[in-house]
Symmetry: C2
Subunit: 306 residues, 2 copies
C-alpha cells in the first residue's frame, strides 16, 4: 500500500455566502465538509486512481470523529490524540467567486503522543511501497519531524516524498528524501531564488534525490538523477486550483510505485493537476480530461549543466 502522513489533519468546511462584508451578519447558503490536510487529499486522489492507500497522522475530538467518518475508501491508521483536530473555513463569495480562508490552529501534540506515533509509523512502513509526508506541523511536533520521518523511511527502504514548506522543508530535505515537490513560493523561500531552473537545481543540492517544482498553470520542472525535464500542459485550463498540487503529488507517487520513467511521471502529474483544476468540486478530478490531457503534455529535457 501507499502511506500518506498528514500530521496536521483538518476538517475543511466551504461556506458559500452572497457576498462577504466584514462586520455584518451572513446567511451561509451551502455548507460542504470534507477531510483535509494535504496527505488526506493525496490519499483521496490515489484511491480514485485505484491504489490501496493508508492514511496516518493525528486526529482528535469531535472534529476528528467527523473527519474519520468522511474517509470513504481510504484505510484509516490515524493516531488519536487528546487535542482537537482543527477546522479550516473557506468562505466563497457567490458574487465574485473569491475565497476568504480562516484556518484554526492544530491541536497541541504532547511529547508522548509524538513518540508513540513514531512507533506506529515504523510499523506502517513495513507494509508500505511508498510514503508521502505532507503539509504543516501542528504545535508541539518538533521542527525536525520530517527529517526524522524521512530517515525512518530510508532506513526501512521505503521511497519517500516530502511536500511541506519553511523550516520543516529545510530540515527535511537535508535528510535526503527521494522527491520533494515545492511550489514557486516554497522554492524561493528555501533557495532565495525566484528563477525556476537554478532554484530547482539548488534545492536538489540541499539533499533531495529529485526536486519536482510546481510552476502553477505552466506545469512542472523536475531535477532528477536521470536528468532535468520541464513538463507543460497543452493548454492552460481555468477553474478551481485547490488541490491541484495534491493531485500532482498523487501522480508522482503512483509513477514512483510503478517505476515509470520520469517523463511519464511528469506527464501524468501535469495532466492530473489540470484535470483537478477543471473539476467543479475542489480537490476532485475529471477522469476523462485526465486521460485526454496526458497525451497532450509536452515534456522537454534540459541540457544537464552542473
Amino acid at each position: 500500500m501507499i502511506l500518506t502522513v498528514t500530521l496536521n489533519t483538518a476538517l475543511d468546511l466551504t461556506y458559500r455566502v452572497e457576498r462577504l462584508v466584514p462586520h455584518s451578519s451572513h446567511r451561509v447558503t451551502t455548507v460542504t465538509e470534507r477531510p483535509g490536510g494535504k496527505g488526506l487529499n493525496v490519499a483521496r486522489v490515489l484511491t480514485a486512481l485505484g491504489h490501496d492507500v493508508t492514511v496516518t497522522g493525528f486526529v482528535g475530538g469531535a472534529t476528528g470523529e467527523a473527519l474519520r467518518a468522511g474517509l470513504n475508501g481510504v484505510r484509516d491508521a490515524l493516531f488519536p490524540v487528546l487535542g482537537s483536530t482543527r477546522r479550516t473555513v473557506a468562505v466563497v463569495d457567490s458574487s465574485s467567486g473569491d475565497t476568504t480562508q480562516l484556518n484554526e490552529p492544530g491541536p497541541l501534540i504532547t511529547p508522548s503522543e509524538w513518540s508513540t506515533f513514531l512507533t506506529s509509523y515504523e510499523t506502517l512502513l513495513t507494509s508500505a511501497s511508498a510514503v508521502a509526508l505532507c503539509g504543516s506541523l501542528p504545535p508541539g511536533v518538533p521542527v525536525g519531524a520530517y527529517a526524522h520521518l524521512v530517515r525512518g523511511a530510508r532506513a526501512a527502504g521505503v521511497p519517500v516524498l516530502l511536500d511541506t514548506s519553511g523550516e520543516p522543508l529545510r530540515r527535511g530535505i537535508a535528510a535526503r528524501p527521494d522527491i520533494v515537490k515545492p511550489n514557486a513560493d516554497e522554492l524561493a523561500e528555501l533557495t532565495g531564488s525566484w528563477e525556476p531552473l537554478p532554484a530547482t537545481r539548488a534545492a536538489r543540492r540541499r539533499g533531495a534525490h529529485a526536486v519536482v517544482a510546481s510552476l502553477g498553470p505552466n506545469g512542472l520542472l523536475a531535477a532528477t538523477p536521470d536528468g532535468t525535464w520541464q513538463a507543460t500542459p497543452a493548454a492552460i485550463v481555468s477553474g478551481n486550483p485547490t488541490g491541484a498540487g495534491d493531485s500532482a503529488v498523487a501522480a508522482l507517487l503512483a509513477g514512483l510505485v510503478a517505476g515509470d520513467p520520469w517523463p511519464k511521471r511528469l506527464a501524468s502529474a501535469v495532466a492530473l493537476s489540470a484535470a483537478t483544476v477543471l473539476a467543479p468540486v475542489a480537490g476532485e478530478f475529471d477522469a476523462d480530461a485526465y486521460t485526454e490531457f496526458e497525451a497532450g503534455v509536452s515534456v522537454v529535457q534540459h541540457a544537464d549543466a552542473a
Copy 2:
C-alpha cells in the same frame, strides 16, 4: 424544572483573527466553542442561578454530538434528528473588536421528526413549572410551530414565554403566550411602529398576556395585566452585548416561577442583562455586578391609557 425549547440549536464558534481582510488567508489565533441557540443560552444562565433546567429541541450529526458534550449541568432532553446541527462562526477582529457573523442553515426536519418531537414535548411539559420557546425555526418545521407549542403549554397549564421573530412570532403571539420578549427590531416588524410604548401595547393586543420589550442598553418596557412599567439601569455599562437578551429571558422565567411582582422581575432582568454585558466572556454574567446592579434599577409605572 424549567424547560427551554431551542428548535434551531447551534454550535457557536468564536474565531479571533488579527484583522479580517476579504479574499485573503487568516490564521485563527484562538477558537472558542460552545452550545448555542437562544434557549440553550437561557438554560445556561438559569443553571448558574441555581435552577433545575431541561433543554429540548433538535440535535444531529457530529456537530450535535459536540454540542451535547458541552451541556455541563443542564439536563439534556434534546431530540436526535437525521440532519446535522448547524454551526455559527463569529469572526472577531483583534484590532477593532468588530465581529463578522457566518450562520450555517439548520438541518431539514422531516414531518415525522416534528410529530415525534411534539409527543416528547408534551411529556416534558408534565414536569415543567415554566417553558421558554426560543429562537428561529430550522427548515421543515411549520411556520406555525410556536403557536402549536404555546397552545400545548397552555393546555398543560404551564406558563410559556416566547422569544422569536418574524412570522413565527406573529403566529405564536396569537396563541396567547404568557410573555413575549421582542427587541426593538422585532417589535417594529410585528407592529409597524418604532415608538416603544405604543408598539409594546399594540403587541399585547395581538394576544400575549405580557409583552416585555427590550430597549437595548436603556432597559425594558413591560405591558402586563398588572400595569405598564419601564425599568432602566442606573448606568449604561459597556462590553459585549451578546447574550444580554437571553439573560433577560432567564431572569423573567425565574421571576415567573417564583411568582415575583412585575417590578421585581423587571429589575432582575435589567440587572442580569447589564451583568452579562459586563462579563468578559459572551453569554456569561458577572454575579457580583448582578447583585449590585439590581438595587440600582429604576422601575417606573406608566399611567395605563388604553
